[in-house]
Point group: C2
Chain length 172, copies 2
């Protein structure tokens, strides 16, 4: 197992496909999920009683306000993007086969004031056949709260740029 010593802070360093190895792990910065943000997100995107207000949430099976899972997912994307910081972006959409997200799960609720951190592990790397200047990464993102409890897990496949793209392109 590589990196047994734990996660590496790499925020802001620019990454390319070529910099990564299977087993590489990264840890994001942390961010506070405020009550105001939770309620604002819910009004825009997930208007259900346990997300919208303290009062309505008290009557739900969660006995209090919780974040929309999509808010946790969106915040996870922010933390992931800031950490891996791919030179021209990480692309999870498009016609390439298999890009996207699998097994998105929310094992525990996120409550106002929780502080989230994302741990990323590279689980697979492969060249892109259709776009030789890019590679496809498969990764696992685990989002934890301030108590180290897992609040979200997912697998994702994204297309990211290769460092030596221009050189290879001119040889081809």
């Amino acid at each position: 197992m590589p990196h047994e010593s734990g996660f590496t802070f790499t925020a802001m360093k620019e990454h390319y496909f070529d910099d990564l190895k299977v087993g590489d792990r990264f840890k994001s910065e942390s961010i506070n999920m405020t009550e105001k943000q939770l309620i604002e997100f819910a009004h825009k995107f997930d208007p259900q009683m346990f997300h919208l207000s303290r009062k309505s949430a008290e009557r739900s099976i969660f006995k209090g306000l919780i974040a929309s899972g999509w808010h946790t997912a969106a915040m996870t994307m922010r933390l992931f993007v800031q950490t891996l910081n791919f030179a021209e972006g990480a692309i999870g959409l498009g016609v390439a086969i298999g890009l996207g997200v699998d097994e998105l799960r929310w094992p525990r609720v996120v409550r106002p004031g929780d502080v989230l951190t994302v741990e990323t592990e590279i689980v697979d790397l492969r060249a892109s056949r259709s776009r030789p200047n890019h590679g496809i990464i498969r990764l696992r993102n685990v989002t934890i709260n301030q108590r180290g409890e897992i609040v979200q897990t997912m697998l994702a496949s994204a297309m990211v740029p290769r460092r030596a793209a221009k050189q290879r392109a001119s040889k081809a």
Copy 2:
């Protein structure tokens, strides 16, 4: 195939688990994805060059501004929630096995001004063992744009309330 005549508009009608059958289909209202919303979402949750501004997006492989896939996913949740309108909410998080989202894909980009609609199909229904007052629904959500092109697909499993929960609980 049930409902060959197409989708049924059911926005605002309150739903329970008991109201649904495998094969039931629903169509949401439509919503415009404005450039302002796209950029605002990107700054909060997905700060990549092809989401953040027209100028930076012009230089990307998308040759222009596109929505974050997570923005499309969040907007899909809003349209879905408004359409199915479960009495006490649809719960995709928690300890129940298999709740969450699978195979989240974005086959086409969403651009400023695109108008999104969500088509929901119920693909499975089962009782909840741990919570007899709830059932588990498995559904496919397909998000389409104003040209009928698919911009997002997903499978999701959620826990939703049963209509006759109180009666059953008292007999048990």
